[in-house]
């Protein structure tokens, strides 16, 4: 399931909803991304996440479909927020459930790595020197690259 929303989400309730009643699930792995207080040496007051409505949902659905194709999963979830977020706020939740832990761990890792390089979101950070667009990191490209098929 894919959700793109401004409002916060309840991690416990979301994980329960994606596993409740499905007793084929033996493992559920999740990752929660949070707004950090510091980025580099500048104090970050808050950030605003901009996205591309329409393409965002499409890109996330493609990433989810790819995970479902690669691993024997029972359920997957991607929730990504947009709008103004403050340090400590949740930004993103990805989760994958499977009969065994290996597939759920790997799929969860894949979901967040691919999301970071393919989903059209941009972070604008509020710093003491004014608002700054966050630069993409080459380490994120490298992380996604690990999952590329030959």
């Amino acid at each position: 399931m894919i959700r793109v929303q401004a409002e916060d989400f309840d991690v416990g309730a979301e994980l329960e909803a994606m596993s409740k009643g499905n007793h084929a699930i033996g493992g559920l792995c999740s990752f929660v991304g949070l707004v950090r207080e510091m980025a580099g040496s500048a104090d970050i007051g808050a950030m605003t996440l901009e996205h591309y409505p329409g393409m965002t949902e499409k890109a996330l659905a493609e990433i989810e479909a790819e995970a479902l194709e690669r691993w024997p999963l029972e359920s997957t979830l991607i929730i990504h927020r947009y709008g103004r977020l403050e340090p400590g706020d949740r930004i993103v939740l990805v989760a994958a459930s499977s009969a065994h832990r290996e597939a759920s761990f790997e799929a969860c890792h894949f979901l967040i790595d691919f999301l970071k390089t393919k989903a059209p979101f941009w972070k604008l950070e509020e710093t003491p020197d004014g608002a700054k667009w966050v630069d993409a990191r080459s380490s994120d490209d490298a992380a996604a690259e690990r999952w590329m098929k030959d």
């Binding site: 499409k58 059209p120 941009w122 993409a136």
Partner: protein
Amino acid sequence: MLKLLYFAWVRERTGQGSEDVARPDGVATVADLMAWQAGRGAGYAEAFADPARLRVAVNQEHVGADHPVADGDEIAFFPPVTGG
């Protein structure tokens, strides 16, 4: 017509989030379109000065600079993504 969309600092430099433009003569690919954009005035010149800094989606799919451009396409220009 082409529907052009801009996000993040590309939107700030062009001064708008979206616009409809007639496909310029001789523009057949994304690279052609970026070269044309760079000649449209100050904000555009700045936004499109270095195409290597930009990413492009045609009809909501990531594409390369050699991707064709056709009437009716939705073409978005933006910096490398930074979500998650």
